[in-house]
């Protein structure tokens, strides 16, 4: 990927921070829900997860990710894949947010 591609990925990651998990109250990037972001010819490919497969919030999170990534200049369209492999776990949370949430560091 080119330097400008890296920039675009960073911008998309930044834009995705407007999407929060309503229950945990933090943005999905810091919570570790976003597994992968790549850009190909203006198409952003985002792979993400949620805490529970059947949760009614999951589809809103997916739409929210598409909506926010679309607003980034240089992104022409967005393709979001929701996956539960691997399953999300709290060790994926960024350390700062983890301590804010009062999460156990181990186990």
């Amino acid at each position: 990927m080119t330097a400008s591609g890296d920039d675009l990925v960073a911008q998309i990651r930044q834009a995705l921070k407007v999407v929060i998990d309503p229950e945990l109250g933090h943005n999905i990037v810091d919570l570790g829900f976003v597994y992968d972001v790549s850009v190909n010819d203006g198409v952003a490919h985002i792979t993400m997860t949620a805490t529970t497969r059947g949760c009614p919030a999951a589809s809103f999170l997916k739409e929210g990710v598409a909506n926010s990534a679309c607003l980034v200049p240089g992104v022409e369209s967005v393709d979001v894949t929701m996956t539960f492999e691997p399953a999300w776990n709290p060790s994926m949370i960024s350390p700062g947010v983890r301590s804010l949430l009062g999460f156990a560091e181990v186990n």
Partner: protein, 453 residues
């Protein structure tokens, strides 16, 4: 087998309507108790007490459970609800059926000169309503086979509401003095324990236990991937219920009395509760989220009521005073355990559903508040404290035969319920969400009694 599991299920439009009506029934029942209507001023099996019991068990608890299950069974099995269009007719049938049934009890108690058909017609309408609920949830579960453990609890709970309703229907024929009912003169004596165990134990408690496995794991972020989690509790409970139904029907047929059946069922139920307690404690120990939220802490208080019921029940059984304390124990089960658990979870579910409805559609386009921004924890904690203090006080006063003290304690419970109801309304109105996050562009304040989906 059905289609692929869905990602994200939609909001059930009428769930909040079920919740709202349910809270109204609870408040009505509490006001009647404060006014001295029914037990302990009246006979525990008398028509006036039956009015309150059915207001609480059908109007409040069953209504809230149905509304919640329409939302949660799809989450449990990751499949859409089989027929959302059946949920409103079911609500109408249950409400109308309950009103007619209560009118029948009031007529039976001599409060007005009503026709004899009120009880059977009310029971018939209720059975029709529950049939719609069971069919809808049953088909949803069916599409999600093989069922995860919590969903199996729900399936057993659904079978139990069928048993409860069938017995209730037969009672209505006996109590209204019909010719068919006259064929079963002893049905009320032996049938009432089965009706009550199937309703309070099987439908309400067992279903709540099953759902709580998933909810507690979700709220505490405790890994619940072990497929065996809940298995012993389910098997013990299923054995208790099966012994009650099969043994109960045999005892009815042979007219031998229910003592042995209830003893065996009680032992299996205690095993189930002990296993459930162990499981909940296990989830608590492995939780990733250290600080527990108010809804979880209040659920623990409700669970404390259930533990107290098990200990007191066993103690009274040993001392032979179970019969004379049955009213206090039933009160603690219905109000301390089930109502406490339901209110604690409504405190979470109402803001969560309101959040999804209001902010879900604008997510990604504008900053949104968190679910906890929709509630005022300190105010709600005060009301919950009052609710549990009042409930435990009322139970103690019932055990001490202090009828007036009981009414005063229930007045405290009523005040707390009103306070919590106001908190739920404020959450629906987004009244506690600070600006400028309250209404981002594109977001609309939800209706109080119905969700847009």
């Amino acid at each position: 087998m059905g289609s692929k599991p869905v990602i994200g299920t939609s909001l059930c439009k009428w769930t909040v309507s079920y919740f709202a009506l349910a809270v109204v029934w609870l408040l009505l029942a509490e006001v009647l108790m404060v006014a001295g209507f029914g037990f302990p001023h009246d006979d525990i099996g008398g028509p006036d007490t039956l009015v309150i019991v059915h207001m609480v068990c059908i109007g409040w608890l069953s209504m809230v459970l149905c509304g919640a299950l329409f939302q949660f069974v799809p989450v449990l099995v990751a499949k859409p609800l089989y027929a959302e269009r059946w949920t409103l007719p079911a609500l109408a049938l249950l409400t109308l059926g309950l009103i007619v049934l209560l009118a029948g009890f009031l007529a039976l108690g001599g409060h007005f000169d009503g026709p004899r058909w009120l009880l059977p017609v009310g029971a018939g309408l209720l059975m029709a309503g529950f049939t719609l609920v069971v069919a809808n949830l049953g088909m949803t579960l069916w599409s999600g086979r093989p069922l995860p453990e919590p969903a199996r609890f729900v399936a057993i709970g659904l079978a139990c509401i069928c048993v409860t309703a069938a017995f209730g229907g037969m009672f209505s024929l006996v109590l209204s003095g019909t010719a068919v009912g006259a064929l079963w003169p002893d049905l009320l004596v032996s049938g009432v324990p089965i009706h009550a165990i199937a309703g309070l134990g099987g439908w309400l408690t067992f279903t709540a236990m099953g759902v709580s496995y998933r909810l507690l794991a979700m709220f505490m972020l405790a890994p619940d991937g072990d497929a065996r989690l809940g298995r012993l509790a389910r098997r013990g409970g299923a054995a208790a219920l099966a012994v009650t139904f099969v043994g109960g029907v045999l005892a009815l047929w042979k007219a031998t009395g229910l003592n042995l059946v209830l003893l065996l069922a009680g032992a299996a139920a205690l095993l189930s509760l002990a296993a459930y307690g162990r499981d909940v404690l296990g989830l608590y120990r492995i939780r990733k989220r250290r600080a527990l939220e108010l809804n979880t802490r209040m659920s623990v208080l409700a669970l404390g009521s259930l533990v107290a019921v098990a200990i007191l029940g066993a103690a009274f059984a040993v001392t032979g005073s179970l019969q004379s304390h049955a009213g206090a124990l039933a009160f603690l089960v219905a109000v301390g355990w089930l109502s406490g658990l339901v209110l604690a979870n409504l405190y979470k579910i109402v803001p969560f559903l309101t959040w999804l409805e209001t902010y879900g559609p604008v997510m990604g386009r504008a900053p949104t508040p968190r679910v906890q921004d929709l509630v005022a924890k300190r105010r709600a904690s005060k009301w919950f404290g009052l609710f549990f203090a009042g409930t435990w006080g009322a139970t103690l006063l019932l055990l001490l035969d202090a009828a007036l003290g009981f009414r005063i304690a229930v007045a405290v419970v009523t005040l707390a319920t009103l306070g919590l109801a106001e908190e739920f309304v404020r959450a629906r109105r987004l009244a506690d969400v600070a600006e400028p996050l309250r209404l981002p562009a594109g977001a609309i304040v939800p209706h109080l009694l119905v969700s847009r989906n």
